[in-house]
Point group: C2
Chain length 197, copies 2
DNA sequence: ACGCTATCTTGACAGTGTCAACATAATAAA
DNA sequence: TTTATTATGTTGACACTGTCAAGATAGCGT
């Protein structure tokens, strides 16, 4: 039986296969033509399901925000403690390390520079960020994070630090694996607020 | 008089013109063919002066590390104070903001991922980093930065925060200009160590 | 059965980096 | 000074890339 002219569920298949390529080879190796070949479809079939390559990348990034949001939600159910905060910091860096190329996509210039985000991606990332700020506020009330500044400010500052460290690790500027865990702990401590006396 | 077959100083001219394109249009718009056309030379003339495109990009990044090193050197001559530290934080973010695409190149994955750096670039960046660590040590001795950890660790952690914030600004994730200065101050404060009682 | 629309295909175009082969100029050796 | 060598610049070609236009095929509602 020859393969049918219509694929049936090309949208999902493309996303799935694109995820594989992204995970294994990185965004630089994710070309539309290669993806199409791997799925067994012509070069331009994708354009009936995604506006362009950017839309595909946005869809991939969006799924990343969903998993990050889930991770946040589960940790927010736990007791608010310094240990929980460190655990989150640890998991944030782990997520970045284990999803190298996806993280690039989620927070990299490829999509964000020049505001190329899909509306759908915008709202997904905003939702995740808002949840993060909410948790920061809760931790502030517990005295774990600095109370002197607004949840938004503290959340932004903490996230900047996490993101910066993640980037340095991912970009190969910090490479020593044993250092990384140690440094993660230190950053976690550095971000916390401790009683002054 | 027709233009001579040999350019005379093509290496410098290529670097200069590449810098212009990088500054005005970004690395994504810096193509070898466009650069060659702009200089008035054939597409492949560059290959007699640079091994490949990556080498050209490394050379550009290298010049960035030189200016960052100079900035560090001048501020290190000043009195070691909390104000000096904040000034450096401010200048770091300013450098990133004013040299958008150059900063991308210096710390971005394009060069660092997969260890594509030129030996020359490696040593330039290492020199700048070592100087930074040295200053951190001096600030530790003044009680401005945390003394409990090694200069290397504290320097890495601080730099991660600066880099992270710079990236978020450059990638258009933080855009509000008025917020940026305020946040820079907060990060500067957050990184400093204050007496516990 | 007919027409409409969604889906998929091939052909084409303007880009990209870079290798091979060749042309020209400057420089070192005879 | 002539000759050989090396440095520098040129054109042609190749394998890529994303995406538009036009045409082919299938499914679905009327």
């Amino acid at each position: 039986m020859p393969k049918p002219y219509h694929h049936g569920d090309l949208y999902s298949t493309l996303l799935l296969e694109a995820k594989k390529i992204l995970k294994n080879e990185g965004v630089s190796e994710l070309s539309i033509r290669k993806l199409a070949a791997q799925v067994g479809v012509s070069r331009t079939a994708l354009y009936h399901h995604f506006k362009d390559k950017n839309s595909l990348l946005c869809a991939l990034a969006e799924s990343g925000f969903a998993t990050q949001k889930n991770a946040l939600q589960t940790i927010m159910k736990k007791e608010k403690s310094r240990e929980a905060f460190e655990e989150y910091v640890q998991s944030y860096i782990s997520f970045a390390a284990n999803n190298h190329h996806l993280y690039d996509l989620m927070y990299g210039q490829l999509i964000w520079r020049n505001q190329l985000q899909t509306d759908s991606l915008k709202s997904a990332s905003r939702t995740t960020f808002k949840l993060w700020i909410k948790w920061v506020e809760e931790l502030q009330m517990e005295g774990i994070l600095d109370k002197e500044n607004s949840p938004l400010r503290v959340g932004q500052a903490c996230w900047a630090s996490l993101h910066g460290f993640a980037r340095l690790v991912l970009d190969g500027i910090y490479v020593n694996q044993s250092e990384i865990k140690e440094m993660t702990q230190q950053i976690s401590k550095m971000l916390q607020s401790f009683p002054k006396n």
